[in-house]
Structure formats: structure tokens, C-alpha cells
Symmetry: none
Subunit: 220 residues, 2 copies
DNA sequence: TTTAAATTTAATGATTTCTTAATGATTTTC
DNA sequence: GAAAATCATTAAGAAATCATTAAATTTAAA
């Protein structure tokens, strides 16, 4: 996963920002075209996108739209001071922030840090002794790291994101395995069992992942 | 190697800064022209350059460019308050810091110290019994120098720079081999094995470079 | 050019995760 | 309380992924 994806066709600006961000220990990737930015995003994902509105191939508006189609990745838009028109205002409205060229690199970094800080709260779900970190895919119980498999993590994530809600087996299965999977619904119960083994204090008497008879499961 | 190279044509200011910095035990050299500054840098190198933007011969922008062409030497730019225009903003973007005349000498020294400190922290990463020095490309384990190959060093660097984060195999591969490499992803696992052989206490049970199943590797 | 080191490839072995299927336990319905 | 439905548990095997090894290739050094 990339921390910050920079879509900017001016080499100097691009290198400059990259240097500063790497100095702050962010993992940075760059793309000089919108095409490349989208393909990088698709391949690796990103925690934040820094997007120059003037790219040679695709216009900024389409890129924003495509980036936001699935995930809700934060976007900072880079514009020129002379740019302001109605269409741009529309884009900025959908962006998390924007900055005008020429800009002070310190201000840009402050903006980035601010966004990460605000996002953190959303990407880390804490409940009781369980802490789930969606960004880096880790789970801790009482502060001790617990290794979950991919399926177990997905299962826990969906359950915790919907605390108090009863989720049907069919719903859980479709979200994790996909609706066209050839696996049996049964395999879900096995994974529930494995997950309980790892996160419940007494797996024989589960308090966190509760079975709702005839319906499914609920995180409480 | 010069600690601080001052490029400044006003004699009084130059002497003032020099005195203060020498009092702090820095090795200082001065140049009253851009020409002389560049030749001094070429001849001896410098850990930091203090650059007045208004020099009689070469303009500040060209000097910045030339200094940064090879090395990534930090530059602090000295400007006059009336200077601010777009071109200057471009230069400041490339500088590590700047200060406006007239300035408080204490603030300047604090800025210099800050840059040295940040550089050091960035270039030397220490964790447990492993110490990685990016500047000179050396690695020690329990104070004993360990010889790593180029690929092994890069791998260790990226992992340590991202402590606690799981880095996907694809990401690691692209950072080290480049996205257009023709090598197989598989070769990464072989290098992981070699690296573990050199830095883990028990390579059969790796504690530093941890495998995250289905995802990649993590330094912890 | 020769030699050594570093890197890559490919094949095999080991481990982990996932799935299935069978059996046992629990809850609901009648 | 018995039957039916649903869920839990277990264990075994399949599939996916990672580790290891050795040989081939490339690169760098002497």
C-alpha cells in the first residue's frame, strides 16, 4: 500500500514533494499522467492522493470520480492561482483539501498530516479489548498482536463495522467470498469458530461474536 | 569536508555568522561569489550550505540546481523581505529552509541545528541490535559490521523505514527492482531468506522480518 | 581474462490457510 | 418430549503461499 500517490506532470515539483514526504517517512509513488496514477492506485492502493488538476491525459474531475468510486480515499488537489472557475469549484468541493501553486511545502505537509490524523479515527476500530487497524491489517487483543488470516480479518472487520447489527450468513458470505463463489455457506461457520478461538476470552461461551439463531451473527 | 559553506557577499553579515558558528565548533568556509561557492563545494563538499539569494555573479536558482544535481545537500536560503515573488517561491520550495534579512542569529543557528538533527535521524536507523546507516551504506548487528549485498541493504532499509507496517511483496519488489523489471517476484523471497540469514538471531524462527501470510513482510 | 561475488531462476519441500464432510450439540417447533 | 432445523466442532485433505536449496546466469573485481 502506498501512503501518498502524487499525480503531477512537472518533474521538479514532483521530485521536490517526494523528497520532503520521504523525509517524513511516507511511502511515496509518483505518476506523471492520470492513466498511470489510476493504474498505480488499482494495483497498490493509496492512503492519500495528491492530484494536479492539469494532467496531460485525463482531466482531474474524471480521476477524482474514479478514485472515489469504490474507496473513499482522501484527495488533495493542486491548482494554479489563475484556475478558479465554476467547474473547478465543483471539484474542490468534493476534495478533502486543495493547495494553490506556488505553495509552501511546509503547508502542504501540514495539510497531509492533518488529513491522516482525522482519518486515523475512522480506520482504527476499538471495542473492549479488541483493536482493529484497517490500514495496516493488524488486530490486537489487550494490546497483544493477534495474527488473523485474511478471511478471519475480513470477517472481524465487517462485524465490528456493524456493531449491534445482526448480519445474516448470506450477507457475510457474499461480502467476503463474493456472490459467485463456489464455496459452501458452511465454511463461514468454520471461520467464525476459528475467529472466536482467537478473540474471545472463553471461546466456548462467546460474548463478542454472538449467534443469532436462524439469522446470523452479531458483534456486541 | 566543510560543515557549513556560507555564500554571502556582505562582509559584515558573513563574519557575524562565521563567528557564531565557529563558536559552536562548526567548520565554516565562506565565499563572496557564487562561482567561488561552487568551486569550494566541488573541492571539499559541505554538510550544509547557507545561500544568499542575491549574489553578484550567479543567481540563487542556478546554484541550488547545481548543488542538488548529485548530492542532496541541505540548503538554507537568505532572502530580503521585499523579495517574495513566484520565482523565489519556486526556489524556496527546493530549499530545506529559508530566513529573511534582517534575522536573529540565534534563530539561524537553531535552524541549522534542526536540519542536522533531522538528517541524522533520517540517515541512521537503529532498532534492537540492528543499526542501519543510510549515509555510508553500512549495517551493524550488536556493533559488529555485517556485509550486505546491494539488494539486501535496500530491502532492509525499506523494511526498517516502515517499522510495524506490513509491506506487500509487490510493493517491496517495485521499490527495489522497479515496476518495469523482468525479474520474478519469487526472487524477493530468496533475498528475504539471505537477509534473514544475516540479521536474525535464529533464521529458522525469524523475529525481525516477519512473514504476514497472503500479504507480505513486516519489520517488528 | 580470470575469478569471485551477487543475483536470478527453477525445482522441491514445508507450512499455513481454506474447504469439505461427518458428527455432535443446541435451539426451535410441533 | 420428540423431530426438525440450525449451529458447533473436529479432523482430514486440498489449495495456496512461503522457504529452502542448488544450479545457472549475470555482474563486478582482481
Amino acid at each position: 500500500m502506498i501512503d501518498i500517490l502524487i499525480a503531477e506532470d512537472h518533474k521538479e515539483i514532483c521530485e521536490l514533494i517526494t523528497d520532503f514526504l520521504r523525509a517524513e517517512n511516507y511511502i511515496v509513488s509518483t505518476a506523471e499522467t492520470g492513466e498511470k496514477a489510476l493504474s498505480l492506485y488499482e494495483k497498490y492502493g493509496a492512503r492519500l492522493v495528491l492530484l494536479d488538476i492539469h494532467l496531460p491525459d485525463i482531466d482531474g474531475f474524471s480521476i477524482c470520480e474514479k478514485l472515489r468510486r469504490n474507496d473513499n480515499v482522501p484527495i488533495i488537489i493542486i491548482t494554479a492561482r489563475t484556475d478558479r472557475d465554476d467547474k473547478l469549484n465543483g471539484i474542490l468541493l468534493g476534495a478533502d483539501d486543495y493547495i494553490e501553486k506556488p505553495f509552501d511545502i511546509e503547508i502542504l505537509i501540514a495539510k497531509i498530516k492533518g488529513i491522516f490524523k482525522r482519518r486515523l479515527a475512522r480506520d482504527i476500530i476499538s471495542d473492549g479489548d479488541i483493536l482493529l487497524n484497517i490500514s495496516d491489517g493488524t488486530v490486537t487483543k489487550n494490546g497483544i498482536q493477534t495474527e488473523l488470516s485474511a478471511k478471519e480479518f475480513e470477517l472481524l472487520k465487517i462485524l465490528m463495522q456493524n456493531k449491534g447489527q445482526t448480519l445474516t450468513k448470506e450477507f457475510l458470505f457474499n461480502r467476503i467470498w463474493g456472490s459467485d463463489s463456489e464455496s459452501e455457506l458452511q465454511t463461514l461457520t468454520v471461520h467464525i469458530k476459528y475467529l472466536r478461538e482467537k478473540i474471545e476470552n472463553d471461546p466456548k461461551d462467546p460474548q463478542k461474536i454472538v449467534t443469532v439463531w436462524g439469522k446470523g451473527y452479531r458483534w456486541s
